[in-house]
């Protein structure tokens, strides 16, 4: 046999082996067997080294096995030991490895030089950032995301609040789940879901409130579909403003108008009381009632009695709810009958539909309220659960507390006792932490884009792991002001750390190349309180470096210059790390950053915060062994045990014996949750004769968020190359439009030329139009509204009035 034919034969054998492995993997997962996958077990046969990591994309928190060969990721497998996904991945799994290898990865620091950029050294880049901060520390802001790993977010948090005494740090998660946070706080006195994904295996009814998990959280949706295919009876209900792929799998579709959810929730509560089907036992034992305090608007409102609650609900008859929401009265009755049946187990899921809402806090509390009022809470299958869109929106933003008003572990800057606890853990002088909350996202960017002379009090923003140049609402107002109002912005300076060029790097003065996913160590926290860990597996390209290192390097540069904020009480560097020999490790020098596990060091320090609100985390080493653990994780008899269901006796170790249910962080300090009444209120902007259509924006299956990773995957780009406007066929006919015609879409804030798609994947009702936001060449956020929820400060991307006209061909 010639060498060529030997090589070909070897190659074919290898391919056959991989094919056999693919089939074996699928067979094992399909059958639920515990046989080890051959390709994962036999490194010697393939040369592939396999390690665990959570998926890079959404907040579901699927675990994958990552195959590395010769320093490169070559294969991905669902992790069968992972409870979240049990070996399954969604089709984005095809691309999670390839997302590392787009050829336009940023590999060098770049400094703006007129209309172009020049490559600079990391030393110059770090020095430039330190110059900007040192010149005006209180005019500096840090903008991150739910894609920050837990240690990255924690380092940024400590740098800003514990170092610079500056609370101008906020994440893009303000734009996607801030209303879920305020909803949990207003209801239970503490953030994050009580339930978990196990509820999907136990529920009889699954209600999706403005949520499209078939496309956005497919592995979770598949879990329920799988149950149904096995003959289990699961009723799926989709409450939405347009038909989606989720709708196709549901037995009931309730099509509502924008803000119809507020009326529907009140309608259900009205009928539960009228029919006597509310759970008197649950309510009497575990709940109180609240209503907004109009004279003094605040998150905790004013206490009301059950009778007052009942009176407030009286107008919300099914017929009145139908007039407000567009959902037929019989369907409101159907929902109320389901909630009124104590034998059924009901789980509610929601995501952006309820959160991107100018009454987001209100609707979040109201859905919790229906579950509490009906007693559908605290047992497996009975849970109101919000989902997140980013891998660590919960772990980093909500738990580490990278919001402008929070401290780690659920504490807040406005509370003196919380500040003291944080200062003690960080070992910084008393009074270091500023008591005034910083700017939330929308205000931060407005301040940055407003001339200093006109009150714009932010002059430098450092962006890490997000793309605000594409995702902020009302982009035109920020980055394309009319006339000469851009004058006066010469002193503003934008720093962007990212892995690929984006709409935001185009605006940047300094661009820093970052490592991503398995190019660095990491920890994240998913939607069900599960904290996950992975190790670095491959090197980042060129000079790309970890975001966490970038933060620490700037902190050390300021320390070197004698900036007091970068010193602790003993005058030591704020991020000092000592090795086993007791000597300080110079982690601010890239060549020494991986001499020690910086993630572990930061995590162990952060862990001290987590006991305050009973969000206890286990030692780092426990996460190395596990496919994630759901907090609170409490040590019992030498074992670290996670918690499936919070506030429920038998599951949650912090519930006292005999209590059954205990809301131990109740805002009324009596172990009770709050059932809220909120009135229906119209959206901030509604169609009128000038702008007769309602615009809703969102995501698509093929692209993750702003598309900065998935648009680099050719097959995804070919499958969904650009944004489009979905229209109802009757509206299209009225405007004389056919598929592919281009329209000019205008709101009061901007305009966009975009092709139309009629009878496409999603089907909006008459009078509405849907446009996805993934396409940086068609910025729909030029048109969106920047009105925010009064408590969460989250904008509404789902409702803006627009008009359209056909562009002549």
């Amino acid at each position: 046999m010639s060498r060529d034919s030997e090589s070909l034969s070897g190659s074919l054998q290898r391919r056959e082996f991989i094919k056999a492995s693919a089939m074996a993997a699928a067979t094992a997962v399909a059958g639920g067997t515990s046989v080890a996958l051959p390709i994962l077990a036999d490194e010697s046969a393939t040369g592939v080294d396999w390690q665990k990591a959570p998926c890079r994309f959404c907040g579901t928190g699927c675990h994958v096995q990552v195959g590395v060969q010769q320093g490169k990721v070559v294969a991905i497998a669902g992790d069968r030991n992972a409870e979240v996904n049990k070996g399954l991945l969604c089709v984005k799994g095809y691309h999670v490895g390839a997302a590392l290898y787009g050829q336009d990865r940023l590999t060098k620091p770049l400094l703006r030089d007129g209309d172009s950029y020049r490559e600079i050294s990391w030393d110059e880049a770090i020095g430039t950032i330190a110059d900007r901060i040192q010149a005006a520390p209180d005019r500096f802001a840090f903008y991150g995301s739910g894609q920050w790993t837990i240690p990255e977010g924690y380092a940024a948090q400590k740098f800003m609040k514990g170092g610079l005494s500056n609370n101008h740090i906020d994440p893009n998660a303000r734009l996607c789940m801030a209303s879920a946070v305020t909803g949990f706080l207003a209801t239970y006195g503490v953030d994050e879901p009580a339930g978990c994904y196990d509820d999907l295996d136990a529920c009889d009814v699954l209600i999706m409130w403005g949520n499209n998990p078939a496309e956005m959280h497919p592995v979770l949706f598949s879990r329920v579909i799988d149950r149904r295919s096995r003959g289990e009876k699961v009723t799926l209900i989709d409450i939405g403003t347009r038909r989606t792929r989720t709708t196709e799998a549901c037995q009931h579709y309730l099509e509502m108008k924008g803000h119809g959810d507020l009326a529907i929730a009140n309608g259900i509560a009205h009928l539960l009381i009228k029919n006597g089907t509310w759970s008197r036992k649950f309510v009497d034992s575990f709940c109180s009632f609240k209503a907004p305090d109009d004279a003094n608007p605040n998150l905790h409102g004013k206490a009301i009695s059950f009778d007052e609650y009942k009176v407030l609900l009286e107008p919300y008859t099914p017929e009145h709810v139908e007039s407000l929401s567009g959902v037929p009265a019989d369907q409101i009755r159907m929902l109320a009958d389901l909630f009124g049946n104590p034998e059924l187990k009901i789980t509610s899921l929601w995501c952006m539909g309820m959160n991107q809402h100018t009454r987001g806090t209100a609707i979040n509390t109201m859905v919790h309220g229906i579950h509490l009022l009906s007693g559908h809470f605290g047992t497996p299958g009975n849970a109101p659960t919000s989902l997140t869109g980013q891998p660590s929106a919960c772990g980093t933003v909500r738990e580490v507390g990278t919001l402008s008003h929070t401290l780690p572990g659920g504490m807040v800057v406005a509370d003196a006792e919380h500040r003291k606890m944080a200062e003690d853990i960080w070992r910084v002088p008393a009074g270091r932490i500023n008591e005034t909350p910083g700017h939330h996202t929308v205000k931060m960017w407005e301040s940055f884009c407003t001339p200093t002379s006109q009150g714009g009090d932010i002059s430098t923003i450092w962006v890490q792991v997000t793309n605000p140049g594409q995702t902020l609402p009302n982009l035109n107002k920020l980055f394309n002001p009319k006339g000469d109002s851009k004058a006066g912005l010469e002193d503003k300076f934008l720093i962007v750390s990212d892995v690929y060029p984006t709409a935001t790097t185009r605006l940047a003065d300094l661009i820093l190349p970052s490592a991503m996913w398995v190019e660095k160590n990491g920890m994240v926290g998913n939607s069900e309180r599960r904290t996950q860990q992975w190790f670095k597996m491959v090197d980042p390209p060129g000079e790309a470096r970890d975001d966490c290192w970038q933060t620490i390097a700037v902190a050390h540069e300021l320390f070197k210059r004698g900036v007091d904020g970068m010193k602790d009480r003993d005058g030591q560097f704020l991020f000092e790390v000592r090795g086993a020999d007791g000597a300080a490790v110079p982690i601010w020098e890239w060549e020494h950053y991986y001499d020690i596990n910086v993630d572990e060091h930061l995590f162990e320090e952060y862990r001290k915060f987590t006991r305050f609100k009973h969000k206890d985390l286990a030692p780092y080493g426990e996460y190395v062994k596990a496919r994630g653990l759901r907090w609170p994780v409490v040590e019992t008899n030498g074992q670290w045990r996670e918690t499936q269901f919070r506030f429920a006796e038998g599951f949650d170790p912090y519930v006292a014996a005999g209590k059954e249910i205990q809301f131990y962080h109740s805002s009324t300090h009596d172990d009770r949750a709050q059932i809220w009444f909120h009135p229906w209120i119209a959206p901030a902007e509604v169609p009128d004769k000038d702008y007769p259509l309602m615009l809703c924006t969102g995501r698509v299956l093929e692209h993750w968020h702003s598309g900065s990773m998935t648009r680099r995957i050719p097959e995804l780009s070919r499958a969904m190359p650009g944004a489009y406007a979905e229209l109802h066929p009757d509206d299209a006919a009225a405007y004389g439009l056919r598929n592919g015609d281009r329209i000019n879409m205008e709101s009061r804030r901007g305009s966009l030329m975009i092709p139309v798609w009629i009878d496409g994947r999603g089907k909006p009702p008459r009078g509405t139009v849907f446009v996805p936001f993934f396409d940086e060449t068609l910025l729909i956020n030029d048109l969106t509204l920047d009105a925010v929820d009064p408590f969460s400060k989250q904008p509404d991307y789902k409702k803006a009035a627009v008009r359209i006209s056909k562009v002549p061909s």
Binding site: A22, A26, T27, L88, G93, I225
Partner: protein
């Protein structure tokens, strides 16, 4: 590019054979043995490139009786070097 998938089937028992038959007629697709009680069909796809894999997966999802398709295993060793850059967003000097 080689992938292992699990197709969740939701048709009536009588239609199951036809669903699997349709799946097996897609070039490059090899169905495995179905677990009758779970109705989860393992599938192996051997495709010449990632684009074909995506197209095959879509076809699979559209076959009557297929409720959902999940991914289990992907090997893209030969393809990862071929991913081109996108045209947008690049700093102007580069």
């Amino acid at each position: 590019m080689i992938a292992g998938l699990v197709a969740i089937l939701d048709g009536h028992a009588a239609e199951l054979t036809e669903t699997i038959s349709q799946i097996s007629r897609i070039p490059g697709v090899v169905p495995g043995d179905i677990n009758d009680s779970a109705r989860r069909l393992p599938v192996m796809i051997d495709s010449p490139d990632p684009d074909s894999l995506e197209i095959i997966t879509r076809r699979l999802q559209q076959i009557p009786g297929v409720a959902f398709v999940d991914v289990v295993f992907i090997h893209f060793e030969d393809e990862s070097a071929r991913i081109p850059e996108t045209q947008s967003g690049k700093p102007t000097s580069l």
